[in-house]
Amino acid sequence: MENDKQRFKLLDTVYTAMMILPIVFGIILKIFTTPLSEGISISGAKIFFTIKLPIQDLPITESQVHSWLVMISITGLCLFLTHGIKEKADTKRQHVAEWIVENAQKLVDGNMGEYFSGFAPFIAAILGLSAFSSLLALFGLYAPTSDVNVTAGWAILVFFLITYYKMKCGPVIYAKSFADPPLLAPLNIISEVATPVSMAFRHYGNVLSGSVISVLLASGLQGLSAIVFGKLPGFLGEFPFLQIGIPAVLSIYFDVFSGLLQAYIFAMLTMLYVAGGFPADEYYRRKALNKS
């Protein structure tokens, strides 16, 4: 009995460490790899090192490393929430876990219909990964979603899903859907390709524009406080007083609200496109008609 309790507490500590340590590691890595610089710098993801491969070199960038950290962190959170789960919920964490699962299921069922109810874990994973990646900017780290490669990867995955479900009705019907009406076939193909492009650019553009505007505002406030408080003697004259607090207000909109909204929209569009690609009811009705 005593032994069980100790083991439970030990595992709890391990899971909590799994949640927190990746972010601490990311901050330490950021501190050690960022060179001291004057003024503002807007740059893309830093390349840590490059793995030499025969066809194409594989660069390991900041956005990749940070998204791995987010994945470990989310895994830790999930393990922590589901640790010591019982048939009847009596702990707070189990209530939270059940609330998350129920809401994800309800969201998927409401938007995709009965046939796609198995999609709930996938949608919840996209939602969680995207939201936590954007929220990583709150710790001063590079948000992986402000790199177009990350969001493009997700969008390509979604594109494969859409194509799979469109193919499910039959390749001939899929090919025919482009030539309807026949004159507009090129436009239909372009709009098919535009789906992942627009999904990737929407998410990446929103997060990146927020970070660019934040950097511009911070540098502007530095200049303004140099003008306003520049006459003060010594250290006080150099200290950017206006940079305290004011960028945080903008950060609430750009990092928290916009990041969460984009995560929600990415998941929502995934659901709509996948569910729209395969009309399950019509498919089964047609199948039943063919049999009889």
Partner: protein, 94 residues
């Protein structure tokens, strides 16, 4: 002469980025219309505020896409294009 060429490249990139962002007008008008209609709908039927708000945010995000295309092009023109174009210029001079 080389300075002039590089100056023209940098200036044109900055001008192009500015002109590209004129596309921000479209999403602004579109989203304004969407929010106005959503406010009307909520005023008429306050009980379906939640549904209207989520649908409106969704529509706003989709309408924003054209503006974001312009933003991506502007960012490419400012941060990526000048370096590339100067490299190409150097290679052609050699």
């Amino acid at each position: 002469m080389l300075e002039l060429a590089i100056g023209i490249i940098l200036g044109s990139c900055a001008l192009g980025a500015g002109i590209a962002m004129i596309a921000g007008i479209g999403p602004g008008i579109g989203e304004g219309n969407a929010v106005a209609k959503a406010c009307e709908a909520i005023g008429r039927q306050p009980e379906c505020k939640g549904t209207v708000t989520t649908t409106m945010l969704m529509g706003c995000a989709v309408a924003e896409t054209t503006g974001l295309y312009a933003l991506v092009i502007a960012i490419l023109l400012i941060f990526v294009a000048p370096g590339r174009l100067v490299d190409i210029l150097m290679e052609t001079i050699k």
